[in-house]
């Protein structure tokens, strides 16, 4: 097992920069997820680590070895591909042992490793089948088996679950997590699915346009997003972003600051940080949908909640929860409420925003000014 270090890594295609000066340190045994929208450079980065793409500039260390010029086979890595890349003309057993046979390993050792991997993944009964006789989930397991038998220092996963249906994806997510907990191999996992990122990662690296937006634990990213992009990328439904102007209250109330959305609508809150640099300037206020509560009839808000009168424009019942779409000062917001709370379209509603969990972003740079949220540590 090994750490992976990326120093000032860059990738150019002709003169187009895809990744520029990227620095990342991945610790031994760590599970790091690279996540971002299509074209953010996450797969390119993974392929550069694998040796399938040339590194235009910078240094890549796998373990202690500078690996820029090493052939993929010499990097001691194993990769699981999106389409599994199982050779259709070989049986499952031959697929799993393909890499080992290429290195002319002792036959008994190959048998032992294949049996062990098949046992871990529960695919022993499939060993004599051809890939065309396997289901999506089984193919996925075999692809992982092929990676496991090589006993690599680093596992690389390139969107391995994106070809599976939602239910199977959820199951395989758990399998991958269990596998990592068992073998503890350093893993780098690429996905565009933020749920996969949140559930699997020790740390998440969020990429956009080839730049790292934020690196942190899933909870760090969720509760203290570095910018509007991260705030809206992580979380489903995404964080509500409301444009307004930051003003200071002079009415001696506890709430010393206020974001004005319009002449009539504003939200006051208290914070003990100096925000004078942003006073009377445009800002973006972020509120997670779960921090907006739909009040039931005659229910009184808590002291830390601010109430707005709105109408539901769209209702998405999801069973346990219901997502309500509405708007404040013409800006669409989503709120999550208990699935048992019956709400009808265009009903007048009172929603209460929890001011203990607010995020304020610079309107220009979209960088975070502060989050009132206290991050919660979750032990994986």
């Amino acid at each position: 097992m090994a750490q992976v270090l990326l120093k000032n890594i860059a990738k150019y295609y002709n003169k187009t920069k895809v990744i520029e000066e990227l620095n990342l340190s991945i610790k031994d045994q760590e599970f790091v997820v690279l996540v971002g929208p299509s074209g953010c450079g996450k797969s390119t980065l993974l392929r550069m680590i694998a040796g399938l793409e040339e590194i235009s500039d910078g240094e890549l260390y796998i373990g202690d070895r500078l690996s820029n010029e090493l052939e993929p086979k010499d990097r001691n890595i194993a990769m699981v591909f999106q389409n599994y890349a199982l050779y259709p003309h070989l049986t499952v057993k031959d697929n799993i042992s393909f890499g080992l046979r290429a290195t002319k390993m002792d036959k008994q050792e190959i048998e032992k490793r294949v049996a062990h991997a098949a046992d871990i993944l529960g695919v022993t009964h499939l060993l004599d089948r051809k890939p065309s006789e396997l289901s999506g989930g089984q193919s996925q397991r075999i692809a992982m088996g092929r990676a496991i038998v090589r006993q690599p220092e680093v596992f690389l996963f390139d969107e391995p679950l994106s070809n599976l249906d939602a239910k199977l994806r959820a199951n395989m997510r758990v399998e991958i997590k269990k596998l990592h907990q068992r073998v503890k191999t350093t893993s780098i996992y690429v996905t565009h699915d933020q749920v996969e990122a949140m559930t699997l990662a020790d740390r998440i690296v969020i990429l956009k346009g080839g730049d790292i937006q934020q690196i942190g634990t899933p909870m760090d990213l969720y509760h203290t997003p570095a910018n509007v992009f991260v705030a809206t990328f992580i979380g489903n439904p995404p964080m509500n972003i409301l444009n307004g102007t930051l003003t200071q209250n002079n009415d001696n109330s506890d709430e010393n600051w206020c974001v004005k959305f319009s002449d009539t609508e504003s939200l006051s809150f208290s914070i003990d940080k100096p925000l004078t640099t942003y006073q009377d300037k445009p800002v973006k206020l972020g509120v997670r949908p779960e921090d907006i509560r739909v009040l039931r009839n005659n229910e009184q808000p808590q002291s830390y909640e601010r109430v707005f009168s709105v109408q539901a424009t769209v209702i998405e019942p999801l069973g346990a929860d219901t997502t309500i779409f509405t708007d404040i000062a013409g800006m669409e917001i989503k709120a999550i409420t208990d699935g048992r709370h019956t709400i009808h379209l265009n009903d007048p509603l009172k929603i209460a925003i929890d001011t203990r969990h607010l995020h304020l972003f610079d309107a220009q740079t979209e960088e975070r000014i502060f989050s009132t949220q206290v991050s919660v540590k979750v032990q994986n």
Binding site: L52, I77, A85, T103
Partner: protein, 280 residues
């Protein structure tokens, strides 16, 4: 209302009938020369020149003469050697070049591909003279090598294989690279097994093309011991007399391998034609 379904059903039936009629006429037109060839091979003497469907006294005399008194077996062997060797060569080189053009990036790749494709535009008749001059300079006249060399690699095959290799996802090649195979092994062990239908189609096209080749083998071989079947059969046609019955008997025997190849592998021929958009 009850009449409607009947009427509606009648329309596709008429269409079907028309389709079948056209297909049957086409099929008959195609098979008639073969039937005529076979029937003529069973005739002797003046009857050869009559258009009777079945000979008065069908005989295998022509076949016996062909095998006992001519070099037909040698020609058959020559054709077999030429067709097999060129087919193996074409499969090897065309797939290697097609794979390289498909999966590797290098300077001048497009130019090379266009150059190879442009060879498809030049008819064989135009190439015969430069080929002949080359063969003469190399001292390959009246050798197997001389007969085979123009067909050892084909532009059509390169094109066909390149098209098929496009269907092999790059992930397989990347996976093999990580597994530690060198580029030649990746081509041979991973990519080639995945284009089996294309290889079959190309093998059929090449085998049949060389089995029936006439012009070039005739030009390059003067020694009757080196004739291929089509050239050998042509030698039955003299200035004053043509032994049609022997030619037809030889052609009938020569048709057998092609028929076997067609029957066994016809689905690959169709797929090869569909994939390449071309005819062999």
């Amino acid at each position: 209302m009850s009449n409607l379904p009947t009427n509606m059903k009648a329309v596709p039936d008429m269409k079907k009938l028309l389709t079948w009629t056209v297909l049957c006429i086409g099929g008959l037109a195609m098979i008639m020369p073969l039937i005529f060839m076979f029937i003529t091979s069973l005739k002797v003497g003046e009857e050869v020149y009559t258009l009777s469907f079945w000979p008065d006294e069908p005989t295998l005399e022509n076949y016996i003469y062909l095998f006992e008194n001519s070099n037909f077996l040698i020609w058959f062997f020559n054709s077999f050697v030429v067709a097999i060797v060129t087919t193996i060569s074409v499969l090897f080189f065309d797939s290697l070049v097609g794979y390289t053009l498909c999966k590797f990036e290098f300077k001048g790749k497009k130019l090379v591909f266009v150059a190879i494709l442009s060879t498809l535009l030049i008819p064989t008749e135009m190439l015969v003279i430069p080929w002949y001059l080359m063969v003469k300079d190399f001292g390959w006249l009246d050798t197997y090598w001389g007969i085979m060399f123009p067909g050892m690699i084909s532009g059509f095959g390169v094109f066909l294989m390149k098209q098929f290799f496009e269907t092999v996802p790059d992930d397989y090649i990347h996976a093999a690279r990580i597994d530690g195979l060198n580029e030649f092994q990746i081509w041979w062990k991973v990519a080639m097994p995945m284009v089996g239908p294309a290889l079959s189609a190309l093998a059929i096209f090449t085998f049949l093309g060389n089995w029936t080749a006439f012009l070039w083998p005739m030009i390059v071989s003067n020694d009757p011991e080196l004739y291929t079947v089509p050239v050998g059969l042509a030698s039955f046609s003299g200035e004053f007399n043509t032994d049609w019955e022997l030619i037809m008997a030889g052609a009938s025997v020569a048709t057998i391998p092609t028929l076997i190849v067609f029957i066994l592998l016809q689905k690959y021929i169709v797929r090869g034609v569909v994939m390449s958009g071309l005819k062999g």
